[in-house]
């Protein structure tokens, strides 16, 4: 089977790249294992949130402070700014409306009641323009009885510390009764399936209206809208106060929605999404990749003019660490990790862990290196790229989308 471009990895970067190419009429296939890191999503894309321990206001300006190995440094600030606009437009195209832009971060509110710099936030999520201030005097933080994947007391505590009065009414809905009776059903995506029904949404709206006295705004866990945001808008229309969503513990309903929206759009453009399969072998010849085999289509080589590796970091198995080495398991690409596992991490969990910045080596155009030589028809994008710590710098989703679009631009 021959394609123009074959992408390995069906997460945020793989789908972004696939859509950009398919839109230009390219024949694209994505090999996707299944779940990806969008399932751990906080409701916002982050372009660049923190540099040298300080929150970033203007991500584009802050790129100048990054070291040369950061993916944005390879692209250049001006191009990142251009691509950031395209990323926002691409999300809008697939049906994900966002607020925010690349020249001025806003803040998302975390499940712990803290704020984090954000670039694009899904419309309807709770946000603020300031790190330590919220746009309300009094909020009603709704607790759905039995939903323990939402640390409401921590969220309330954090919001109170920003000078906002918080009340936490408990809502007990009949439509959740069956889920509540099970020990393990009250999880975010299960709730989203229940709230796909209009009668369940109406119940929720009525309960909110009955319990949220004089608050300026209502905050509820983001457990609505697994397919699209129709039910979110329906709820907002029925609640008689401004209503915003707060991220929950994983799996993130908003992340699942983005993933599905990107995938459906890609498929609508004619892209092939080979779901539930895993690339297991890549054949190279000199400086080019010639074919890819997958575990389920072993007898059918997949070939393309260009190959994009978007397999993610350790948690997605795009990188693997054994006792002695960090390696890229698919092609054996060169990585920037030292061969001494004691150096990979350090005590103090919340510190800047070295392993977080490991990834494959590439040239300035994201062609990966194997044994010191570039593979000229291959690219690496997303979290498999090293040179940055996404949890410390707040740039994970940004790097995924921006490098995906940068590479799509290069593919003729």
């Amino acid at each position: 089977m021959k394609f123009d471009t074959l992408i390995v990895g069906g997460g945020l970067s793989g789908l972004t790249c696939g859509i950009a190419l398919a839109k230009r009429g390219k024949r694209v296939a994505i090999v996707a294992g299944g779940q990806n890191t969008l399932h751990f999503y906080g409701g916002s894309m982050e372009l660049l949130g923190n540099v040298n321990g300080k929150d970033v206001d203007n991500p584009i300006e802050a790129i100048a402070q990054l070291n040369e190995n950061h993916p944005y440094s390879k692209i250049g600030a001006d191009s990142v700014a251009e691509l950031a606009k395209k990323a926002k437009a691409l999300l809008a195209d697939v049906g994900i409306q966002t607020i925010g832009d690349a020249t001025h971060n806003h803040y998302r509110i975390t499940p712990m009641g803290t704020t984090k710099p954000a670039w694009l936030t899904i419309d309807g999520m709770a946000t603020s323009d300031k790190a330590d201030q919220l746009p309300w005097n009094k909020v009603s933080l709704v607790y759905l009885e039995g939903f323990i994947d939402y640390p409401i007391d921590f969220a309330a505590n954090g919001i109170r510390q920003m000078g906002v009065q918080v009340e936490t009414p408990t809502i007990s809905l009949d439509c959740l009764k069956r889920a509540r009776r099970s020990a393990t059903e009250m999880r975010p995506t299960n709730l989203a399936k229940i709230f796909a029904s209009t009668s369940a949404v109406a119940q929720l709206a009525q309960a909110i209206n009955n319990s949220c006295g004089d608050a300026d705004a209502v905050l509820i866990p983001a457990v609505l809208g697994i397919d699209n945001d129709d039910v979110c808008n329906m709820l907002k229309a029925q609640v008689n106060k401004p209503l915003f969503f707060l991220a929950t513990l994983p799996p993130a309903v908003t992340g699942v929605r983005i993933n599905a929206a990107l995938r459906h759009y890609f498929q609508m453009l004619g892209g092939r999404y080979i779901l539930g399969d895993t690339a297991c072998k890549v054949v190279t010849n000199g400086d080019t990749v010639t074919e890819i085999r997958t575990t389920k289509l072993l007898d059918m080589p997949l070939q393309a003019d260009n190959y994009v590796i978007a397999t993610g970091s350790f948690m997605s198995r795009g990188l693997v660490a054994d006792f002695e080495h960090v390696y890229e398991p698919l092609i054996g690409l060169d990585t920037n990790a030292p061969d001494d596992h004691e150096k990979w991490s350090q005590y103090g969990m919340m510190g800047d862990q070295p392993y977080m910045s490991y990834g494959v080596m590439t040239d300035g155009n994201f062609h990966p290196l194997k044994d010191g030589k570039t593979l000229t028809n291959a690219f690496a994008i997303g979290q498999i790229l090293g040179g940055h710590n996404p949890v410390v710098m707040g740039d994970g989703t940004g790097v995924s989308m921006i490098t995906a679009l940068a590479v799509a631009n290069q593919i003729k």
Partner: protein, 538 residues
């Protein structure tokens, strides 16, 4: 507090298994008792070992006295602590590189010590324990078992209290109050509030394990102890169902124990300076030894996820007439400091093993009784601990979490109240811990923080190592204890404490899972920021 006048017959220092056992024995003999622990119960060596209930076979050849003590206590614990024990039995295997001739010596020594030891065919051994190294050339079956030291200790503390004892964890003894060559009490600092309190007693029993050396120093007394670090690794699931030992002279990393949902390989043994015992970290060299030797017992360990490493410190004691420390005893040492050092009202109980804690407690309590002129018989060998009053219920038709809770709390599980749907909600899927069990533990089992909650309920101890359940449990702890801000800090400390164990094995799936945990708590949740904000306020 049961005792209002601040004066006790006995103060016990140290909330490990020995101190908890002493407190229980004293209380059962009608003495008024106060138990003081610096951190949480089981924080020291009690919580940092294999969880192996020795049959004594390991010591049979080299130390018959210890072996005999072990088997006797082993049989007692099966009866009095049945809810803490899993009767797995154990194998002592001979590998091609070992001397098969040792097996005969071993079996004879076991039998001489009163330990049942059956030589079995290697093929039979592989059927009994499919994870065992298939190259084995010999196998002996012995009555080893698996025991939960957290449950065992808490059951002793709870029973001491039921018999009128007072118990304070997070209270550090900072001073012994001495009057005319007699220890008459202690000063203890509340680790949370910083408040220093005085408590008085006729007899003070030092049961602080390796820290007992420092407690004795407070009275100007030297005890010649040798801190011996033992490192262990926990694997992500239960590879073996029987304890697997090497049939050779005791050496490094030759015991693999199944514990609840996981298994543990250990240990190493290295002398360490006393100054370092509060911060034991597993070294790379120890990890290498543990893995290399562990794979020889059960080859599948090579491909099993390592959850974490940890290390404890054995309180080995040199005989008093041997300051060089060459003749170190693993036996029980009970020192009457009046006789030995001219310091009345002060006893140290140390040495021994977790296995023999009850006997150690009996010996120390006997000595305390004779000092107090009290004539009471020890009943700890026959009276079941709370939770083990009756045989385990033959359940299985109930919800997973209720079964799991019965396994953990024995007959006490009936006190866990499932009053609402939410009470049944699963907090920790790996270990089957419900909201109701968390509340029960917070309200009844001295749970000042999330790490203590883990020890009481096993929340966060399973395969996922607290990925989502840590947040759920912290949130519930905040709600049930009423201190939400503290519970949030506890969450960060809990994750950091877990990371301390993961760091030495941070490659393979351990590294992968660590990245996921960091992505959730640092990335998605911004927990680091919540903690930073809290620290700014201080």
């Amino acid at each position: 507090m049961n005792n209002k006048n601040n004066h006790y017959d006995v103060i016990v220092i140290g909330g490990g298994i020995t101190g908890a056992g002493v407190a229980r024995d004293c209380a059962m003999r009608g003495l008024s008792v106060l138990l003081l622990e610096r951190f949480d119960y089981t924080n020291g060596a009690t919580g940092r070992n294999h969880g192996l209930m020795h049959s004594g076979a390991r010591y049979a050849v080299t130390d018959k006295e210890s072996a005999t003590e072990c088997i006797e206590e082993n049989m007692i614990l099966r009866k009095i602590a049945s809810h803490c024990v899993e009767e797995t039995d154990g194998l002592f295997i001979t590998l091609p590189e070992d001397d098969l001739g040792y097996q005969k010596t071993f079996v004879e020594a076991c039998r001489a010590a009163g330990i049942r030891a059956d030589i079995i065919d290697p093929a039979e051994a592989r059927i009994m324990e499919p994870s065992v190294n298939p190259d084995l050339i010999g196998a002996v079956r012995v009555p080893d078992a698996s025991i939960d030291p957290f449950r065992l200790t808490v059951a002793n503390v709870v029973d001491a209290q039921l018999h009128g004892a007072d118990s304070l964890n997070y209270h550090e003894v900072t001073e012994l109050i001495i009057s005319q060559n007699r220890v008459v009490g202690v000063k203890a600092r509340d680790m949370y509030t910083g408040e220093v309190k005085e408590f008085y007693a006729d007899v003070t029993i030092n049961a602080a394990g390796i820290w007992g050396m420092l407690i004795a120093r407070l009275a100007g007394i030297t005890i010649n102890m040798f801190p011996a670090k033992g490192a262990l690794l926990i694997f992500g699931h239960r590879v073996n169902k029987m304890v697997i030992n090497r049939c050779r002279k005791p050496a490094n990393a030759d015991i693999l124990v199944p514990d609840d949902t996981v298994c543990v390989i250990g240990t190493t043994s290295d002398r360490v300076p006393i100054e370092t015992v509060d911060d034991m970290r597993v070294t790379d060299e120890e990890v290498r030894v543990l893995l290399a030797e562990g794979e020889k017992l059960a080859p599948s360990l090579a491909t099993t996820r390592i959850l974490r490493g940890y290390a404890g410190v054995r309180p080995l004691v040199a005989a008093d007439n041997d300051p060089s420390g060459r003749s170190i005893s693993r036996g029980i040492v009970c020192l009457d400091h009046e006789e030995r050092d001219g310091m009345a009202g002060f006893i140290t109980i140390v040495g021994g093993k977790m296995m023999t804690y009850r006997l150690m407690a009996q010996i120390a309590t006997d000595m305390a009784c004779s000092k107090l002129g009290k004539n009471a018989v020890c009943e700890t060998a026959t009276t079941p601990l709370p939770g083990s009053e009756q045989q385990k219920p033959a359940s299985g038709k109930q919800a997973f979490a209720i079964n799991a809770a019965e396994g953990r709390h024995g007959t006490f599980a009936s006190k866990i109240k499932y009053e609402s749907d939410t009470d049944r909600a699963m907090v920790c899927e790996c270990e089957g811990v419900s909201v109701a069990e968390i509340r029960y533990a917070v309200e009844n089992q001295h749970v000042p923080n999330l790490v203590s909650l883990r020890r009481r309920t096993r929340v966060g101890m399973g395969t996922c190592q607290g990925k989502l359940c840590a947040c759920r449990a912290a949130s519930l702890l905040g709600r049930f204890s009423g201190n939400i801000a503290k519970a949030q800090c506890d969450l960060a400390q809990f994750l950091d404490e877990r990371w301390k164990g993961v760091k030495p094995v941070a490659w393979g799936s351990a590294l992968r899972e660590a990245q996921l945990t960091a992505t959730i708590y640092q990335g998605l949740c911004g927990l680091d920021k919540a903690i930073a904000r809290k620290e700014d306020e201080k």
